[in-house]
Point group: C2
Chain length 155, copies 2
């Protein structure tokens, strides 16, 4: 990603998020971690990605505090990657991307995997954005309040 611009110090929180997870592989790794995958080999088999790219993305996600490195749960010498609380905070993003794909990227009747509730076995409800008064929130109901420009000296 030669042209990648650092958004690390951006005043827009979405831009800062994308500085960390704004690539396909990082988000797919996070998806797989939510799915219970923990080991390098598991991610590699799932994603079919080159080892050096996977290693780079995992290292970055650990560096950014999205994943933690832990000793293997079975006592073996492997290391495991587990989502931190910060990483788990990405669940709405993962669910949002999934639901968008379900709604717009499959032909009618075309099968796809489904995120279901463990207890009921039924699909997780679609994300419903709400206003403070509980009404449905649309993009038109919102605007972004930017940072004020640096104040000029008052004279």
């Amino acid at each position: 990603m030669a042209q990648r611009k650092s958004l690390k110090n951006d005043a827009c929180p979405m831009a800062r998020s994308l500085d960390i997870v704004g690539d396909q592989w990082s988000l797919l790794i996070i998806r797989d971690a939510f799915d219970g995958m923990k080991r390098f080999g598991e991610f590699q088999q799932s994603l079919g990605v080159a080892k050096n790219i996977l290693a780079d993305r995992l290292k970055n996600l650990v560096h950014e505090g999205v994943l933690d490195l832990a000793p293997a749960s079975d006592g073996s010498l492997y290391q495991e990657y587990v989502l931190t609380a910060k990483g788990k905070g990405l669940f709405p993003v993962v669910v949002g991307l999934r639901h968008w794909g379900e709604a717009h990227l499959y032909a009618k009747g075309e099968p796809h995997s489904v995120l279901v509730e463990r207890e009921s076995g039924k699909p997780v409800p679609k994300i419903a954005l709400r206003m403070r008064d509980g009404q449905a929130l649309t993009p038109e109901d919102t605007f972004v309040k930017k940072l004020p420009a640096k104040k000029a000296a008052a004279h």
Copy 2:
């Protein structure tokens, strides 16, 4: 993005979504479109991205039906990029990334832009994922039901 793998036919809806919006620039363009930007020059000024990359991403987003090309609203010869209904369906993803950034990527008291309700001027509530019974939904409450493997002949 030399190593980009096509996820176009993936059985996971999140993967298909990332095939379209799984890069930093596409999601920032979509953010800016939600912010009301419509013209090539506006996106370029906002993002500071090379023209060829911006042109490539815009073309792809139009091709994928996320943006529509429309004649300029002021009658000039410019073309404008506007979000389709499909594109507007990404609002929860944009809001989810924003809220994650707000929660995890700023020092205490460090200023950032805020998504507010047009009427009240107050920040949009955080996304609350719910189960079908209305309870809060955590990652642990869910699992992904994969597609069944192709059935073997029954004998």
